[in-house]
């Protein structure tokens, strides 16, 4: 029986398809490399950063130099070290917000799409209502209620993400639910939860994966805004948004302080978006490959 060797061949083929995707989309390849580099930098922040991000010195608002690659901030802290340590904060924040959004949005969306009827109507109305509130304002209100801080504010952002994700997975579930293979599975006596996990979710999840990638960028920007507004990361801990807030306070004296964190946010958001867009066109059914 060649079942096992077939599996190996298959895995190899999948790997080469992955390579082909990246080779065909340079922007996605660059983005992936950038994000991987950022992730490793975040893991190795303690090793890479020359100073502690909290260590103050008398050298205040110094311009870039050999000792301080990006200069120092208003408390004499090394900007480069703070930037490096801000990375994991931002990544943690983005993934936390998106996870919360998926965790809340997915079950509601699947439930509404699968069950239909009045449950669907009710869930859809609630989704519409929440979506008609400007998302950052709602996130701020929820943060205020939950209590200020990075984790709470990102849970708030996740709550704000959930209705959009629920709406997306609802539509997908409705489509997949009508597929013949779901009917077939039903005749085999699958229970509803099993039907959902084995057939509906795997076939409905693709657009959600794309959306999640794009939402990582949105979450990153939301974290920056909330930390800039003092509702996210609390001093003295660094995050890119929080660094921008400090830079803003000293903008007349040291305007160059706002560039490093700003570009860090911009590039990371660009990378998430590029990856998401690339995944979208890769998974686009109108462009499905025929291999």
């Amino acid at each position: 029986m060649s079942v096992i060797s077939e599996g190996v061949v298959r895995r190899k083929r999948r790997r080469s398809r992955f390579v082909a995707w990246l080779a065909g989309d340079k922007r996605a390849a660059v983005s992936l490399v950038f994000l991987l580099a950022l992730a490793s930098l975040s893991v190795l922040a303690n090793v890479v950063a020359p100073y502690s991000p909290l260590e103050q010195s008398m050298d205040i608002l110094a311009p870039p130099s050999a000792a301080h690659l990006l200069g120092t901030d208003d408390l004499g802290r090394d900007v480069f070290s703070r930037l490096v340590h801000g990375g994991p904060m931002s990544l943690y924040a983005s993934f936390l917000a998106v996870s919360v959004g998926v965790l809340i949005g997915l079950p509601f969306g699947v439930l509404a799409g699968y069950l239909g009827g009045w449950i669907d109507t009710a869930v859809s109305r609630v989704i519409d209502t929440i979506l008609s509130c400007p998302s950052i304002v709602l996130a701020i209100a929820v943060t205020g209620a939950l209590g200020i801080g990075l984790t709470n504010s990102m849970i708030a952002v996740g709550i704000v993400f959930s209705p959009g994700l629920a709406r997306l997975i609802r539509v997908q579930t409705m489509i997949v639910k009508g597929e013949l293979y779901v009917d077939a599975a039903r005749t085999f006596g699958l229970s509803t939860p099993r039907l959902v996990f084995r057939h509906i979710l795997p076939n409905a999840i693709q657009p959600v994966i794309v959306q999640v990638t794009l939402l990582l960028a949105t979450a990153l920007l939301a974290e920056a805004s909330l930390s800039f507004l003092g509702l996210g990361v609390q001093p003295p801990h660094p995050s890119w948004g929080q660094m921008l807030a400090r830079a803003y306070a000293y903008m007349e004296i040291a305007p160059e302080q706002m560039y490093a964190p700003g570009f860090a946010i911009l590039f990371t958001a660009l990378a998430f978006n590029a990856l998401g867009e690339s995944l979208r066109s890769l998974l686009d059914p109108t462009r499905r490959r025929s291999d």
């Binding site: 029986m1 077939e6 597929e179 077939a184 005749t187 006596g189 084995r198 076939n203």
Partner: protein, 350 residues
């Protein structure tokens, strides 16, 4: 209506079943409207009718994919909807379907082996190795190389996918299989192979089939009895030879004559009865006899009263006011070469 002599309990009994769908404007579409029939063990029961006549919906109702809005379905005397949902999940495994479109019937994200194993995996009664073993055996039985085991559906041809579906259903040793146009989406060259496979499997596993098709040749070839459906209703039912060779309902005559025949047109034109007009709407079917808008024998009575069932030969029933009195052409007249007193050959066989 059915004149079956006292026999064992039918595998499935359909009793005045209606399947209604809500459509826009608050109206209802009666895809199946008051259908009754019985399928006996080891029988092949054909259902024929043009596209849109409600065959698929009837087939889905038989295996509990569509809940009857009226009447009831009995599986060996048992009403499946009287069961708890847990019991129903167990019970329904014995009533299976092969869908028309094998591409859509397989989960694109599952390997062939996983798909075939799935029905067995649901209960997990057998040890894993045994399930694997049985799946591979059945693959071989339906004519699939074990190399396909780890492939995905999109890598297979339509015929191969249909074989996968058959193997998958066989893992359950079902009492009844509804074959819903199981070959019509396939290449003509493969249709006969799959039909033969169905026949072999029936002998081997003692299967009972409800064979749905719009192709008269296929139904004549495989089924013992046949029901002709029109606009959600059965209009004629009887032994296949009787219905095909001496139809007693004008719709069956038209259906038989619409069957393409491998003859030059000048030789067959004289015996063609064309179906005129479109299939009327299910939502507001014609009064009286539903076929009257297209019937060549239509009389004033047909619009006033619903035709009763008339038995034109033992076990051969027709829902026409004038069944048995009309100058309907026989199958031999309609298909001089093809039928020739014998059951028809499936398309592509010849």
């Amino acid at each position: 209506m059915n004149a079956t002599v006292p026999t064992p309990t039918p595998i499935v009994a359909v009793e005045r079943v209606g399947v209604h769908f809500p459509v826009s404007g608050g109206r209802t579409l009666k895809a199946v409207d008051g259908v009754s029939l019985e399928v006996m063990p080891r029988e092949t029961f054909g259902v024929i009718g043009e596209s849109g006549s409600g065959k698929t919906t009837l087939g889905r109702a038989i295996i509990c994919l569509e809940k009857p809005s009226a009447g009831r379905i009995l599986h060996q005397g048992l009403d499946p909807y009287a069961l708890s949902s847990r019991e129903l999940r167990r019970h329904r495994r014995r009533y299976q379907i092969i869908f028309q479109d094998p591409n859509a019937a397989l989960d694109p994200r599952m390997t062939i082996l996983k798909s075939i194993r799935e029905p067995m995996d649901v209960t997990g009664e057998m040890p894993e190795r045994q399930r694997q073993q049985r799946a591979l055996e059945l693959m071989e039985r339906v004519g699939l190389s074990p190399d396909f085991a780890s492939r995905y559906p999109h890598e297979l041809s339509g015929g191969q996918k249909q074989r996968v579906c058959i193997a998958r259903v066989l893992t359950l040793r079902p009492d009844l299989i509804v074959c819903d146009e199981a070959v019509s989406a396939l290449d003509v060259s493969i249709q006969a192979d799959i039909l033969n496979l169905f026949a072999e499997l029936q002998a081997e596993f003692g299967l009972t089939y409800v064979f749905i098709t719009h192709n008269l040749g296929v139904v004549a070839h495989v089924s013992d009895r046949v029901a002709v459906m029109y606009l959600g209703r059965i209009v004629e039912i009887g032994r296949t030879e009787d219905v095909v060779l001496s139809p007693s309902h004008p719709y069956t005559e038209a259906l038989l004559s619409a069957e393409p025949v491998a003859l030059p047109s000048n030789l067959r034109s004289h015996s063609r009865v064309m179906l005129k007009g479109e299939l009327p709407s299910h939502v507001s079917p014609p009064s009286g006899c539903r076929f009257r808008t297209r019937c060549r024998f239509v009389q004033p009575l047909c619009g006033e009263k619903e035709p009763p069932w008339r038995e034109t030969a033992p076990g051969h029933w027709s829902a026409c006011h004038f069944a048995g009195e009309l100058p309907i052409m026989s199958g031999a007249e309609l298909h001089p070469v093809k039928l020739g007193g014998h059951a028809a050959q499936p398309e592509g066989r010849a």
